[in-house]
Symmetry: C2
Subunit: 133 residues, 2 copies
């Protein structure tokens, strides 16, 4: 499809990358990138239908409502797809402020500089408390 | 590696996804997500060394200095990696303002709503002029 045409449902080309597309979750107010995960077509449809971010867990090989364990769901405020129809940006309100399973705001909390890499970003929650079995 | 430890060079786990990691380019001032592309280890090392974004073109199967054809390079201002060491965020200054080969600011210029999807975002350059053979 030409990149200048409006895409048709399901809007995304899932076949291109073996059924999955990367999805970037970004804070809808600050623009902070919170995480990157993957969606299959079911996760995409559930996200559109519920306005809560759903992904496909590649490790657990199943549909994953973000926050299903922690309660820290992502309320979807805006959805953008890219010129190639193979990547998604979700602008979200991150419930509980922290998106990362480590307890930090963003999964992107390791800063790489010429001196090396170091963890930045405060702990917002204690994962041992949140992910109790 | 524990997500709470500082990673060691090359910082990223290239083996996990067949030698490539996704890299999100984000405007360093506005936070706008400009594009997502992929890096192999060479692209990562060239990015660190030159502070210009390099990717691996999956279609051309070669190292790709972003802007090598258009002149619209990305000057890297900050580099973050994620909790799993398998995804990158580059905070960049986008030379020429437009990151997308369609001539738009961002590759993410298709807005999905309940009414369908539509192209948003003005043309900043004419691709026919910029990518002349």
């Amino acid at each position: 499809m030409s990149p200048n045409q409006d895409p048709k449902p399901p809007f995304l080309d899932f076949a291109k990358q073996g059924g999955l597309v990367p999805a970037i979750a970004q804070d809808h107010e600050t623009g902070e990138v919170l995480m990157l995960a993957y969606m299959n077509e079911e996760a995409w449809e559930r996200t559109l239908a519920t306005k809560k971010a759903h992904y496909f867990s590649r490790s657990r090989k199943k549909l994953w409502l973000k926050g299903e364990s922690s309660g820290k769901v992502q309320k979807v405020k805006e959805i953008l797809i890219d010129c190639d129809d193979d990547t998604v940006v979700l602008k979200v309100e991150q419930v509980g402020r922290a998106a990362c399973h480590t307890g930090r705001r963003s999964c992107f909390h390791k800063l790489v500089t010429e001196a090396g890499a170091r963890v930045v970003g405060d702990l917002i929650f204690d994962p041992k408390e949140v992910y109790k079995k």
